[in-house]
Amino acid sequence: MSRALAGGAALQRALGLPGSPKTTLERSVGLVVLTVLAAAPLVFNDFWIGTVLTQTFIFGIAASSLIFLSAYGGMISLAQTALMGIAGYIVGNLVTERIPGGETKGLTLGLDPTVALVLAIVITTAIGLIFGAVSARSFGIYFLMLTLTYGVIAYYFFSQVTQFGGFSPIAGINQDKYMPPFIGDVLGHPEKLFYLSLGVALAVYAAIRYVVRTPFGLALQGIRDDPVRMASLGYYVGLHRALAFGFAAFLASLAGVLYVWWQGQIAPGNVYLAATIDLLVMAVIGGLRRIEGAFVGAFAFIVIDTYVRDVKFPGAEVTGQLPFVGGSFNTVIGVIFLLIVVVSPDGLMGIWDRVSRLLFGRGGRAASRPSTETHEPAPRASS
């Protein structure tokens, strides 16, 4: 093992990567996790492959779009679930067909699945750019409210405009005939979607890491920290923020497409306020400062949400009632999330940062950490 680490350290040096003990440990953990995931069908049962882990990657991608905006752009967006849903609705409306025994809701255009996939990503990204352009001059709570409005509009649009589906779900989207040929049957082979989601999640992670190091990403972080100064230096603050929102919409669209391929259905409930809050909770309990937090938070959320309700609490077997909280498992889940955030405002990744400081001292801390603070600029900054 020490050889492997030494080899890893040499590789780090060769690549010019910083090599603090904490970074080394994190990369080691990452490698082990990836190794385990690569061999997942040998390690986990079908439910974990097809549901827990695949969902983790899908919602992790969506949460990473939220964390990207938050950590590097200073924008906490409540529109990511809506954007994810828009992509899902586009796929659902475009690929399904109105044939006997087929779908009865939505446009049922029966387009080629690959074309639908491309259109879903392109249209969602375009909508994200529009959303971003409209809200680019808003900061703080006003930005939050505007993005919440996008989510509410999406919900009412899809539940009220029955041509696009209405309150009922558009279903059967992940049938073999509606999947792009290069992906194939995901119903009979759920591991395909697992690996696809894993691959997309890795690509999204790498893309965000790359983007934040480009001149655009650095300018975005400058705008996050001091939009007035960046404006005075000649940067177009609004354009940068709108482009960042468009990029995040692109990431959310990937999550949306993967979601309908996984779930097979899309309904207004998928873009409802509760779903929006769920995604925000994932990001918050993972930690809004680091992209890794998106996946850690999604994993924690899904595991807690899946398993807590089936835990048998002592003394509650007969009445079904838990002490203080009655029969509501949602209360228990809420308390767990609350505890995580109270113990560590930076979520689970924050706990890890603290543990690593104990292990390695402050020298193990990452060289730079993105901020989640949103800054209220002087009024002129937005002009």
């Binding site: 904490k22 440990l25 385990v36 006997p100 779900p169 409930g269 899946t306 007969v318 390695f360």
Partner: protein, 465 residues
């Protein structure tokens, strides 16, 4: 500051953490070996129909207690659970209760939890219309699992979707309303009416039954209004209805927690309710807010729930006695209790015939006939059609003043053997009920002119005139 830990320690910690996680995930959460039939009960514990949770579970478990030796852990709280269920030599385990909120997204999430994670072989449920649409589509891609709908009454699951592993032992929302249009046409003289209905699958199906029945006899629907499900302020929607002097009557298909607020909004817009001008589906009586406006609706007619509370037949009394025996606080005449009870009973019969086998064997063995409490036609036998959908007797209701002076409902009519096609109005190759379907068309329905009068719970030989 440099770490004092040797370089290999972090990696060792990481490996240990991941290994422990993997073992926990792979071992602890692995599916148990199947030695029993695993059953899930899917219902709602949140949303507009969250009140149905105990009613649904109680109904299903009463059947397991009566026909499969189940022992309730609590006679007042069905969700406390049940043990000892056994069909022949096969133990049956209730692996979990689904907690829906009437949305398809949550229903699907719960279905995955119950069927994939908890490895249920059979699901009894769901409760609500769009939930059933989502689950029927899910069932289509999971042919080894069996779904017996609890009380969800949208048309699509057994008409347009109709997977072979899905069964429904009661009428859909349209079937429940058979006869109501003819009754208001003949008894109240309605010729024109407006309809206000929740904007989702069940209400569309329920409204479709009213529209088809009323138009078939010669009535005209002049306006259709669609408030979203879970609306709380109905003022803007009732204002879209024509005023009372421009229409003979109104059909209300607004349910859940919305019935009362919708009717109150109507009163605020157009003045006190006049009973002879209002009719509706089962929501008019059974749901919240009723007590505020109920006194002004005494005399109104409404569609049923496939149930016949107060019906004086031996079969009905036997059924009601079973419910009272196992869960004394549950109302046997409530459709939530009745429909879940029949679904679970059918499952027991199916398992008896299949010898405890599940999957295709159980689906082939599921009964095509049942003797539910409120069925009268065919010697009390309810039959399934080729799409595994019940052909069921229906009972239009009327709101009357009870012995205590409070409003209550009585059966006012008997509509025999109502099938899902509604005399050819609906078919697998026709659109599912929606905002514009079915159109208002005069036609002959099988039960037209044959609705029998029910007096004091007894089906008479007289026809509704």
């Amino acid at each position: 500051m440099r770490s004092n830990l040797p370089r290999w320690k972090p990696a060792l910690v990481a490996v240990a953490v991941i290994a422990a996680g993997s073992v926990a995930a792979g071992v602890s959460f692995a599916a148990p070996a199947q030695k029993e039939v695993r059953v899930a009960i899917m219902t709602d514990c949140k949303g507009a129909f969250g009140f149905g949770y105990e009613l649904d579970i109680g109904g299903a478990q009463a059947a397991f207690a009566q026909y499969a030796g189940g022992k309730p852990k609590s006679k007042t709280k069905p969700s406390a659970g049940m043990t000892g269920i056994k069909v022949g030599n096969t133990p049956v385990k209730i692996v979990g209760y689904g907690c829906g909120d009437d949305t398809p997204a949550t229903a699907l999430k719960e279905t995955r939890r119950l069927m994939d994670q908890l490895k249920a072989d059979v699901m009894v449920g769901p409760l609500s219309g769009d939930e059933a649409v989502a689950i029927a589509n899910w069932a289509k891609t999971h042919p080894t699992k069996t779904v017996i709908i609890g009380t969800a009454a949208s048309q699509d699951p057994t008409m347009q979707i109709a997977p072979k592993n899905l069964f429904r032992y009661f009428g859909d929302g349209a079937q429940w309303n058979a006869g109501i249009g003819e009754i208001v046409y003949k008894r109240l003289g309605w010729r024109t009416a407006a309809i206000i209905m929740d904007d989702y699958s069940f209400a569309w199906t329920s409204g479709a039954g009213i529209i088809a029945d009323f138009c078939a006899i010669g009535g005209k629907i002049v306006k259709r209004v669609f408030p979203p499900l879970n609306t709380t302020d109905y003022s803007s929607y009732v204002r879209q209805l024509p005023p009372p002097d421009q229409v003979d009557g109104y059909f209300w298909v607004v349910g859940g927690t919305g019935t009362g607020p919708a009717l109150k909004a109507f009163e605020q817009a157009y003045g006190p309710l006049k009973a002879s001008q209002h009719a509706g589906n089962l929501f008019l009586y059974f749901l919240s807010g009723f007590q505020d406006v109920a006194p002004r609706l005494i005399g109104s007619y409404m569609g049923g729930f496939g149930t016949a509370p107060g019906l004086k037949t031996k079969q009905a009394r036997a059924y009601e006695a079973v419910i009272k025996k196992w869960y004394p606080s549950l109302p046997p005449g409530d459709g939530f209790v009745y429909n879940y009870y029949n679904a679970a009973w059918a499952l027991v019969l199916g398992l008896q015939k299949s010898g405890g086998k599940v999957g295709a064997a159980l689906q082939a063995a599921m009964p095509r006939e049942l003797r539910p409490g409120y069925q009268v036609s065919n010697g009390g036998v309810l039959r399934l059609d080729s799409r595994r959908q019940a052909i069921q007797d229906q009972y239009p209701l009327q709101i009357v003043k009870g012995a205590d002076g409070k409003p209550t409902v009585v059966i006012t009519g008997f509509v025999p053997n109502v099938d899902q096609t509604f005399g050819g109005t609906f078919a697998p190759n026709k659109p599912a009920p929606g905002r514009t379907f079915p159109p208002c068309v005069k036609k002959k329905l099988p039960w037209q002119g044959k609705i029998r009068v029910v007096k004091n719970g007894v089906i008479t030989t007289q026809f509704i005139k």
